[in-house]
Assembly symmetry: C2
Homo-oligomer: 462 residues x 2
């Protein structure tokens, strides 16, 4: 699969999609050779932009017969190398960006994989409906990519992850057959759940060409607060106590290292510098209900030694809070040439333990590791910016953090996927037996191993 494709293959692919939607130009290939963060560059042999499922079926049939790898790609905002390809066909799905159906009575949308997250919500929002994932990259990331990686975002605490909203899929299989699985219904006990086998499979089991999404009402009332705690323990104790009586839309945690980076960039003290800066966001149907929740959060925070808790007074203030959170990723990495972006999850009682551990690793290695996370669901992101000469040390630190995560009963990726970067942890997380079942499922659906080869696990050729 490393050698360039024969010209007869390129000709056939050109016939399928038309000359303007295929490229073997080096400049084009290079632009598809990386994702949002991973430090690996892989160049495909050809990039194709198909228009529909039947073109994809023809492409896969051809690829399958000729043993050519096919890697589907949305916006390329993933961070673990899941959407880059060493040779073979890179399938850019951005032309498949139609909202096929929006049914406000059944509260369902059917979309092609290339639809951008926020574009769907702009349409459904007019009817007061919402696909409530809110990934920070929502302005550009595609729904197909979100499904491929089971993405989540800032509101997962209340609304769950992508998979919790996917009801049905159309999938082109490796052999070119097109299947539909699932229905436009809110629940089912009919046979095995193939829908959720495809969700999160990172394009290794089939190419998803149609996605049926369950929508929910947009919240009528929203409040967002910054709360700062001198101590991480206090902050987490407050979060645990709040979680047990109500379910905020999201609770975010920003560590001291990140706060410093934000203030440095802004050249003013935008955020206080404390051990734990917390964002609470609550969503409610009524203003009265919102007030009651705010009071509870204030009361619990105060009881747990919160220095200060301020609710945004208007949309501008609310946006400022979220911008600070979103900036965290950017500001923390400015100082170095490369960055490792971690994405781990632990049982929520172990959030303080994993954060302390990461801080210890930072201290021991002298790396500036910053931490932001969806604290209330246990999903912690950490950034390790490093220069070339620190590379070995940085990756060793990342490994240590992942091993600790597994020791605490966690998972090596909460929402970013395995891609290339985390393959090495798969057996450690899942064990030999479960991994073998996954591999066997892969072999059923893709016996020639043409779909996103080299991702999730090293699949054997048959």
């Amino acid at each position: 699969m490393v050698s360039p494709l024969e010209s007869i293959i390129i000709e056939k692919l050109t016939e399928i999609v038309g000359g303007q939607y295929i490229s073997t130009d080096d400049a084009d290939l290079v632009s598809y050779s990386s994702d949002f963060m991973i430090d690996v560059f892989l160049k495909p042999d050809v990039v194709i932009l198909p228009e529909n499922a039947s073109q994809i079926a023809e492409i896969l049939k051809l690829a399958n017969e000729n043993n050519i790898g096919v890697t589907p790609r949305g916006a390329g905002t993933a961070t673990h190398g899941g959407s880059i390809a060493q040779g073979g066909i890179l399938l850019d799905l951005k032309r498949m960006n139609k909202i096929i159906e929006f049914d406000p009575v059944s509260m369902i949308a059917v979309v092609e994989p290339g639809v951008v997250y926020e574009d769907l919500n702009r349409v459904t929002g007019k009817a007061g409906l919402w696909f409530p994932i809110e990934p920070p990259s929502g302005a550009v990331c595609t729904i197909g990519g979100m499904v491929g990686n089971n993405a989540s975002g800032l509101m997962a605490l209340k609304y769950g992850t992508t998979k919790d909203h996917i009801l049905a899929l159309e999938v082109v299989l490796a052999n070119g057959s097109i299947i539909k699985t699932g229905k436009s219904v809110l629940k089912s006990s009919s046979g095995y759940d193939l829908v959720h086998l495809f969700v999160g499979s990172e394009g290794t089991l089939g190419v998803i060409t149609e996605i049926t999404i369950r929508l929910i009402p947009r919240p009528m009332q929203i409040s967002t607060a910054f709360a700062n705690f001198q101590s991480l323990t206090d902050a987490m104790d407050a979060i645990y106590e709040i979680r047990r009586v109500l379910t905020p839309a999201g609770i975010e945690l920003i560590d001291l290292q990140t706060q410093r980076a934000i203030n440095e960039m802004e050249k003013e003290q935008l955020v206080p510098e404390v051990e734990a800066l917390v964002i609470f966001e609550i969503h409610e149907f009524s203003a009265e209900g919102l007030e009651a929740q705010k009071k509870l959060i204030e009361w619990v925070a105060q009881k747990n030694n919160c220095n200060e808790l301020n609710w945004a007074k208007n949309d501008v203030e609310r946006e400022k809070i979220w911008n600070a959170r979103k900036a965290a990723t950017v500001v923390s990495v400015r100082s170095r040439t490369s960055t490792i972006l971690g994405d781990l999850i632990v049982p929520i009682k172990h959030v303080p333990a994993i954060i302390r551990y990461i801080q210890e690793v930072a201290k021991e290695t002298n790396l500036l590791i910053s931490i932001v996370g969806h604290a209330a669901d246990g999903n912690i992101h950490y950034l390790i910016p490093f220069n070339k000469n620190e590379s070995k040390k940085a990756f060793a630190a990342a490994d240590e953090i992942v091993y600790k995560t597994l020791e605490l009963g966690g998972s090596v990726t909460a929402e970013h996927g395995i891609g290339i970067e985390k393959i090495k942890y798969m057996e450690l997380e899942h064990g030999k037996h479960a991994l073998n079942i996954m591999k066997a499922i892969k072999r059923i659906l893709d016996p020639g191993n043409i779909l996103n080869p080299g991702k999730i696990f090293p699949t054997e050729k048959q």
Copy 2:
């Protein structure tokens, strides 16, 4: 598998579980030969009550080597024949009823499959936490059975189904190996989602021996109302409108036929006799928030010609409402010797269409079909009581209703499972390709087809 087991097998099984936990007595076998409703009686060769996963591993190994079917069973409250066995081993899991872990900080419980639904909630309730499925059979049904069938209940609208709360499983595979899949974390994008492949697989892929459950806060405020509408269309229009701005915990619909049966049994007019009697239940954190939701529901109901809407003033009144709903199943079947209990789901916009269709079928066939359902999520139950001489007509009517369901884009079972009864609809619902994938997955995990043979689909021997 139809012939009684050799005595050497019985001896070995006795060695594994001990003499008091195995029986080949005909009286015992007969007591395991039916489920809650299906009109089929199948007798196993032996009933075994294992104590733990390692005993189950030994049993499966022995069964696999000797080609003996093994059918796991919880409380036997299912309705489609999923937990009865034609010969072979019936694995009664009721002794495995330990709550292994309850972690109120991480809001997680780990249980054995034989734990009764309400028993878990009694324990977690002391810490204000809840496994929010509320199946009507919750006082007796086991969590293992709920996982096997992906059961849901009266609150699925707000809280989802069983699968939405299952984080991890321990499973004994057909070959006797024990795997753990999933983690005690709230989300993950690590590899294929095997957890949700096992959930809803009705014991055909492995025997589940440990279940990790995500808990949520119990609602602080609850209100329940009976609302009666002269017209089904008005009732559903009100429900659609409410659904688009807020999410009640549950919305139930009781049809005229059922109301008549309830009143007849109670010998007083317990419920009004209208085309659509609706139950609304809302759950909220604060009394103020609850009031606001009640007002919205009242306003929308009134706008849509609701005759009367009354909120329960206390727990006694609330219980009365739910008892009427739960009685619906019982009262509707008293008059006949057998009953078909239907469980279908359609896109919610088609709820009026499917209800009208069922009513037409009733009229044409002269059968008294009563309808109750989780109207707001599209899941409709219907009961067709019949006498021996009406059997053919009743089953034909049930078929017609299922075909209409599929025509409307629905699923043949929302929460009861396929079992034996609905095998005949599987290819029609899923298509040949998807069904073949399911069969191939079955062959990976159970090549000898020993696990709950003859359920979900006719699996071929290899």
